[in-house]
Amino acid sequence: MDIDNRPTKRRKFFFAENPEDDGGDVTLPNVESSRPQSATSSAEKDTLSETEHNDLQPANDPISKDKFDVDTFCAFVGEQVDRDVVQKIQDASNGNIERAVNMYFDGSWKANMPARNIQNQASGITSWMSRPSTSVKHSPSKSEDKPTVPVTLKHMASERYIGSFGVEAWSTKSGTNLIRPGEVVNIERTRLAPKTKLGRGGKPVTVVNRYQKADVITRFTNSRGEEVGRLPEETARWVSPLLDQKICRLQGTCVYAEERLRVNDTVFLQIQAFMLKSAFESSNFVKPSDDNRETGFFLEKESTEEKDLRLRQVALVKLFDEINLLPTTTNSKTAKHKKQGLLRAAEMAEQYDKEKSNKPKLSDTSASPEEEEDGEELEDDQLDMLYQKAQQFDFNMPEAQPASTFALELRKYQKQALHWMLNKEQDETSKKSTSMHPLWEEYTWPTKDANDAPLPTIEDQDKFYVNLYSGEISLDFPVQEQNCLGGILADEMGLGKTIEMFSLIHTNKSEEAMAATAKNVTSVNRLPRLPQSSNSVVPAPCTTLVVAPMSLLAQWDSEAMKSSLPGSMKTLVYYGSEKGTNLQTLCSVSNAASAPNVIITSYGVVLSEFNQIAAAGGDQGSHGGLFSVDFFRIILDEAHTIKNRQAKTSKACYELKAKHRWVLTGTPIVNRLEDLFSLVRFLKVEPWSNFSFWKTFITVPFEAKDFIRALNVVQTVLEPLVLRRTKDMKTPEGEALVPLPPREIKIEEVELSKTEREVYDLIFTRAKRAFNESIAAGTLLKSYTTIFAQILRLRQSCCHPVLTRNKDVVADEEEAAAAAAASDVNGLADDVDLQDLIERFTNDAKAAEKEAKDPINTFTTHALKQIQTESSGECPMCSEEPMINPVVTTCWHTSCRNCLEAYIKHETDKGEKPRCPVCRETINPRDIFEVVKYGGSSDNNTPVPENNDDEDAEETTEMYSSSPVHPPPNAQTPVPRISLRRLHPYSPTSSTSAKIAALLRHLTSLPITTKSVVFSQFTSFLDLIAPQLTRHNISHLRLDGTMNQKMRTQVLRSFTSEDTTSSSPRVLLLSLRAGGVGLNLTAASRCYMMDPWWSFAVEAQAIDRVHRMGQTERVEVVRFIVKESIEGRMLSVQERKMAVAGTLGVGHGSGGGGSIEDLQTLLG
């Protein structure tokens, strides 16, 4: 408390209460200054008693009022008191001698006493003289109970005195002699079950609701156990967690209370705080150096845990502040940061909670994987700035040579990465020194109590330690442990993170592993260095655990083999049936020689084992799974999977044990700073893995818009942890880090057929109307999902009209939900117009199928030969030779496509029936066929696609693979390698659409050895594409999210196989989501993006599956965009996003259609 404040406060009080004493106001400072310095300097209330004993001057009080007799006062206290001390006490006690006596003894007269006016009105009426003097004598009795000789105990008693403070409580009862000064009061908490709606202590529940927060009410009872009153809310707020969490016991002494108490009267209490032994013993934080927020296996505990920690943290800070306990030693790091900041952080957290209180609470949803993420999103330029530092890659960084067992040749930057990683893993020097953990502070137990009586001391325990960032307390010296023997390898995709990791696995092995390989079994008995608290967790010193998304397991496995000399690498894909293996026995030290070097598993497995263990009560050892061993190293691939620290998978990963921890990710921060926290948490980087600390230094400043500070801190966190190189990095010599063949992205505009257009237009009109209506009604945000669903339909109808209708087909992950919602709202399900249109569309298609057979079947092999010859001749109309995009009529006459179309248009515009320019045969514009020449036609080995058209004529629709039509069964002559395809399909029939036709056009013109990847975000669209490919004898494969690991592996293997016969698949259908991550598809050199995504970054990531290290050919990408449709507008949205994202290709991952402006662009 501040001495300088006191006179002013007192003056104020005088003024209010005794205006006639104004004169005294002037003289007071003089009086005060004449006071012996000892009284003021020893301002601590705990030391007041010294003054009390030393100052034996006779009381001479000229200004005492008739009410306040100094002699009486002195008689009460049993000693002569300094005059101005008396004066002060008199002032403070408002002339009430009884209170004065109490105040004198407990020192509370020095405390600031706000709200004095109220208390004054209540007091001062009852004469102190009427009170029996005996009662007063109770007050000092406490000190008599205390042992006068310091006692030294061997062990900590159940509690230990830590300090005392004064508080103005208020009564909740009225009555006489409820509580008397000096009476010992108990401070109690009665916590009701949180959801109980019952009143409490006779009070209606509204009292609690007024503050809209958890129950903090702290009551005190008199010595008879009757409730007297409560602590004021501001005190109760921090006292309650201390009591609830069994950290402190509080014992109060009544300093002053009215004899006849009325409700709401002020009761002055002096409260002594005792730290409970249990506070130090609680298993939650007994090991401060260990994971300070042990998540444990009990998820239901999780929800409140963080909050408890925060409450405890605030409470401890407040407590130490109140009792004025200062740390004996602090770390320089924390010293810089004031307690105020800490409190502010905590308060902000509280506010934050309040703001979110109307949202579903985390605790309610803790079981669901998709949990609310907190933290604001990062702007892109902020991300840029963050990475700037991490990306300052030193090209002169030393290199390291991988071990001889590593079979691949590393590039220079990869060797540099190896060197960096080796350094990080071997950085064990700091571990030896025992410096204090940076977040902890050392405190000395007080040796004297409030009354200056010596307290019992305990051997070797004159200090205790507090982590004010987490609220942990400990009796043991918190050693700073260098836990993070790993880091974040954030090289951009395609730079070979996997290979770099394997070089590390080969190069840095544990001593046990080295010994095992050297067949020196005796040294195996050495104990592993990491002491583990868990009873039955067995070290696995030879094993590296790789956790990767399921689709990448096979890739890791094969990369492991590729990168290792034969026999130097044993891998185990721990997935599915392999999970039966007992890892404890397999990987134990005794089995070092045959233990797998690498265990590869998926996030799903980690999570499911985590859940199993949780269900089994946290017994990690007996399970024999991933959690039962302490690995040498853990690598999390695509580690942004765990970016949400609340997600179960993240929590499961934190629990994995290992000496070295690595995370691989191309995007350490996806869009929030908290994303990085989760990685840091996994890596156990002290002190940042403490969320409270993180919050204090990063989240809070960031949310307070103190971006520079927050980002600076993040940079300092990142810098030593992260190695990041990007593909566009250039060596000082200007060479690219990884030379990649060029990549060309083309946008191909696709024109919808008439019927498709009708469907599209109808949906568009509706969407627009809904949009405009909701704008007009101001309910745009409410109907957001509806409009969004409409947009989804529009996008689907661009791909294929059937997509918008067929519920079975539309089952497109989360979007199905949105679509369903939309159909409910708009009654689209019963939509006659749309239904009509689509029926017309399908009917048209059926008709087309029937008709299509006739003209097409007139083509004989002879005709085809003629067509082939002619089509390479001169166009009869433009005289181009050879023709440009030759087309053929049913009368077998060829010309350039454009010429013929122009002529047909010319004629129909005149109202004439178009006729063949050559023979004047009337021609049906739909019966014009494109002549498709197969690439690589010189290759006679290439078998003709199976001839199924004879029998399956019905199968033939608008596209007609005519080359194999009626070939002589044992034809010796090479069959003309052309095929015909209807230029303008009758309609995009039920099985094909304008886009599919465009895709087929591309695919069929490719050389058969060229492999392509077709991406679509609608797996149902892939369902429609696949049969068309089959029909055109394009062998293809498919990979999507529904496939299990074995199937995926198989698909990838057969797609990448070198076998280039026509039966080998040359097209891979990939869902944008499933294929966006991790896969290596360098076998292909063509990408077809069937539909645009909201952000090009996602598409780019998909393209990068093909255009990545290992790609030797030029990559061509075609993005199909429907002309004059929402897709074109989506491109402008994309462009805007790209502009915002700047040059850095990181940061913006998925994210939906986004803002209202985006909607405006799309529908406006």
């Binding site: 009869p876 433009c878 005289s879 002529y903 320019p917 004047r920």
Partner: protein, 149 residues
């Protein structure tokens, strides 16, 4: 407007592989404008005559047929006083696959086979129908007078 490839090619071919009895030479200042001469077909009233004509290729040629007109006076039921020609391939039966060469050959054939049932010059057609020998005689005379100078 640049001359389409087709016109260039046709012109080149007319020069390099001329059709017997027909010539078409483009004007230097307008390559779409041709001076045409057609020899009267043998054993026809026009035999021995050299009939001059002008031919113009419109902008949308070959979508639309060339415009052609006789400059030499000719007595023919399908050719009027102004030299305009009534020929289906120049009108409804035009096809972009037809060329200058083929059109001129058609006209030459028309001279050899007048068609008074689809007349352009009604008086000529009338006479041709009523008194064919007289009409042929008049045609011969006209040829001598106008086309053999």
């Amino acid at each position: 407007m640049a001359l389409p490839k087709r016109i260039i090619k046709e012109t080149e071919r007319l020069m390099s592989e001329p059709v017997p009895g027909i010539s078409a030479v483009p004007h230097e200042d307008n390559l779409r404008y041709f001076d045409v001469t057609i020899d009267g077909p043998a054993s026809s009233p026009y035999e021995g005559g050299k009939f001059r004509a002008e031919l113009f290729l419109p902008d949308d040629y070959p979508m639309t047929p060339p415009k052609i007109r006789f400059l030499t006076k000719i007595y023919h039921p399908n050719i009027d006083k102004l030299g305009r020609i009534c020929l289906d391939v120049l009108k409804s039966n035009w096809s972009p696959a037809l060329q200058i060469r083929t059109i001129l050959l058609s006209i030459q054939a028309l001279l050899g086979a007048p068609n008074p049932d689809d007349p352009l010059a009604n008086d000529v057609a009338q006479r041709w129908k009523e008194n064919e020998p007289a009409a042929i005689q008049t045609a011969r005379e006209w040829t001598k007078t106008h086309a053999m100078a």
